[in-house]
């Protein structure tokens, strides 16, 4: 474990703790930049998908990991971002560079407004309340057919930035780089949030509402702001998802997606940006992995590929159960342990990380 000798206040404020850490992330960034030259078009598409999911996961992570509120309504905000982005392009003829941030803003404002009456709810009640949002938005997409084209769905135009046409199939590299750039901006915003007063007030309402309040934090407002920032980022992911999918309708953003998002951040590791990326990789790559495994299995046994309905959900559920049983801190928690093991070798103790991890501890006070 490296000891950082702090010589200025900036040591705590800066984005990276030390030069080596900066070096590692620079290497990772270089790898990300080189990916289009290393991967096939298909694999690069999957990588783009992982990044889009990572944005969505970061959105939800801000809410659940930072502010301690649960939500099963985030598919709705993916949908709001997605439809807002495409409809503004199709109906109003606005360019992507304007519709994209606006889509995030619309999803964010919608989230904050919906959250206001819900901030009194805690834990499981809040989760149930937010399920309603997902279902309502799904129904609205069907009902508002003249606007949303209902169950038939919409086909988004390719992204156009200053005449540069970006499309998943004809220009996969450009779409990947665009997504990478947006992902990095979201990571930066997330990091900035964590190191500024607003982020700390999120942590405050997560861990003890009553003392947050005594410190002068307006609990209801802070919860709404957390919802707004969270759903805003989720809306951005939704907008990208629409362009990536090529066609979408009400079912693209159903309750299953909400659940998958929540599971992803739990599996990835609550409360960390790394966790959002790990979780995103699992959710985005699992269907392909299962399909691949099934084909292999089918080849081994003979008799072509076997299709078992509900297989994906079952495997996902199994992974989740295993994590909750054996690694409640998620993939990121496991990674931190392995890293510490090597850094301290041979002095690592087994119960080094034993401390209770209890989010959603909200119904305490009175």
């Amino acid at each position: 474990m490296r000891t950082v000798f702090k010589t200025s206040y900036d040591a705590d404020i800066n984005l990276f703790r030390h030069k080596q850490q900066f070096g590692w992330y620079l290497a990772l960034f270089a790898l990300a930049l080189a990916l289009p030259f290393l991967l096939s078009n298909f694999a690069l598409g999957e990588a783009t998908n992982v990044l889009i999911w990572a944005i969505a996961c970061m959105g939800l992570m801000i809410l659940v990991g930072q502010s301690g509120q649960a939500s099963l309504g985030h598919a709705a905000f993916l949908a709001i971002g997605c439809y807002a982005n495409v409809l503004m392009q199709q109906r109003l003829g606005l360019p992507f560079l304007i519709t994209f941030p606006l889509a995030g803003l619309i999803a964010g404002v919608a989230g904050a407004l919906i959250a206001l009456p819900m901030t009194k709810l805690h834990g499981i009640y809040l989760a149930i309340g937010t399920i309603a949002i997902t279902i309502l938005v799904e129904d609205f997409i069907v009902i508002a057919e003249p606007l949303t084209n209902g169950v038939i769905g919409l086909i988004p135009p390719p992204i156009t930035i200053f005449g540069l046409v970006i499309d998943r199939y004809s220009t996969p590299n450009t779409l990947y780089y665009l997504t990478l750039g947006i992902t990095l901006l979201v990571v930066l915003a997330y990091r900035n949030l964590q190191r500024s007063p607003l982020g700390r007030s999120f942590a405050a309402i997560r861990d003890s509402e009553i003392s947050a309040q005594a410190m002068g934090v307006n609990v209801a407002r802070t919860k709404a702001v957390a919802f707004g920032i969270s759903t805003g980022i989720t809306g951005l992911a939704g907008a990208l998802m629409g362009h990536y999918a090529g066609i979408f309708n009400n079912e693209t953003f159903n309750l299953i997606i909400s659940i998958q998002l929540l599971l992803a951040i739990v599996i990835g590791g609550l409360g960390s940006i790394h966790g959002a990326f790990f979780g995103a990789a699992i959710v985005a790559l699992l269907p392909q992995t299962i399909a691949f495994g099934r084909d292999m299995l089918g080849g081994l046994i003979g008799g072509g590929s076997i299709a078992i309905p509900g297989m994906e959900a079952a495997i996902f559920g199994l992974i989740l159960i295993l994590f909750i049983l054996f690694e409640p801190m998620g993939i990121y928690g496991r990674w931190v342990k392995i890293r510490t093991y090597f850094e301290l070798f041979p002095f690592y103790r087994k119960d080094m990380f034993r401390r209770q991890k209890a989010y959603l501890k909200t119904e305490r006070m009175r």
């Binding site: 206040y9 900036d10 705590d12 404020i13 915003a189 900035n192 949030l193 190191r195 500024s196 007063p197 607003l198 982020g199 700390r200 007030s201 942590a203 405050a204 997560r206 861990d207 003890s208 009553i210 003392s211 947050a212 309040q213 005594a214 410190m215 002068g216 934090v217 307006n218 609990v219 702001v225 920032i229 409360g271 401390r355 209770q356 991890k357 209890a358 989010y359 006070m365 009175r366």
Partner: protein, 261 residues
């Protein structure tokens, strides 16, 4: 004018009158202690000042103005800080982050500038950290700066909670049993700190405490309560020897003996 005035304050929980017609005032610059047996209503008085409960009757004034029209989160901005009897820290955050939440009252930046982390936000952060560093030095918390609360021993948590309240830079500090569960040495530290908080920082202290030794050594005035009612008020010496107080405590002591026997 007194800094804090409680004027005939009554609070009922259903049939139970937890605080009954309590009146007292805390003068600027003094250490005022509330004592009394368990269930006397001491913490409830703190919660009334924090605006967690609305009194059924009476008025609470800070700096001459009623605070009954204030929301709970507006109390810190007035300059009233508090600790909790059962430590209420932000467990999944470091000591530093906990103390920084205490600076919330001094936040001038807005959401958008924080998301962009503008130079203004950075300058503010430096200012907050400078202020926090003073608290850390004052309470000798250097060794725990970057430790998570969840892994800290009880005594340290108590100190961190006091530090978080001091980070508010309050005019009035409410301490709910600052020495409960602490060792003799740690209790002595608390006594020194309370003295310094009063003399060096010029902060008025309203304190609930069971340790009569600590109360006698640091407080200027004491109010004894039992069953929500005022028993006696005066110097520590006067209150300790007041017949009603002796009776209330001996009553409790008798019960304890009965339980033990």
């Amino acid at each position: 004018m007194s800094l804090l005035e409680l004027d005939n304050v009554t609070l009922r929980f259903g049939g139970l009158t937890a605080v009954s017609q309590v009146s007292f005032s805390v003068e600027e610059g003094e250490v005022f202690a509330l004592v009394g047996p368990n269930g006397a209503g001491k913490s409830t008085i703190f919660n009334l000042i924090s605006r967690i409960y609305d009194p059924a009757e009476g008025d609470i004034r800070f700096d001459g103005k009623s605070i009954l029209d204030r929301k709970p989160h507006e109390i810190a901005r007035l300059g009233i800080a508090r600790t909790f009897q059962n430590i209420e820290l932000f467990d999944q955050a470091t000591v530093m982050q906990n103390l920084l939440v205490g600076r919330h009252r001094h936040r001038h930046s807005r959401m958008w500038s924080e998301l962009l982390f503008t130079p203004f936000v950075r300058a503010e952060e430096r200012r907050h950290r400078e202020a926090i560093e003073k608290v850390i030095d004052f309470l000798d918390l250097q060794a725990y700066r970057d430790k998570y609360i969840a892994g800290l021993p009880y005594g340290v948590r108590k100190v961190v909670e006091m530090g978080r309240a001091l980070a508010i830079e309050p005019r009035l500090l409410l301490l709910d049993e600052p020495a409960s569960g602490l060792s003799v040495e740690e209790t002595q530290d608390v006594a020194f700190w309370v003295e310094d908080i009063k003399k060096q920082m010029g902060v008025t202290v309203l304190m609930v405490e069971h340790d009569m030794h600590l109360v006698a050594s640091v407080s200027d005035r004491v109010l004894a309560l039992a069953d929500g009612k005022m028993l006696a008020m005066g110097t520590p010496h006067e209150v300790q020897n007041h017949p009603k107080v002796v009776e209330a405590y001996i009553g409790v002591a008798d019960e304890h003996e009965k339980v033990l026997a």
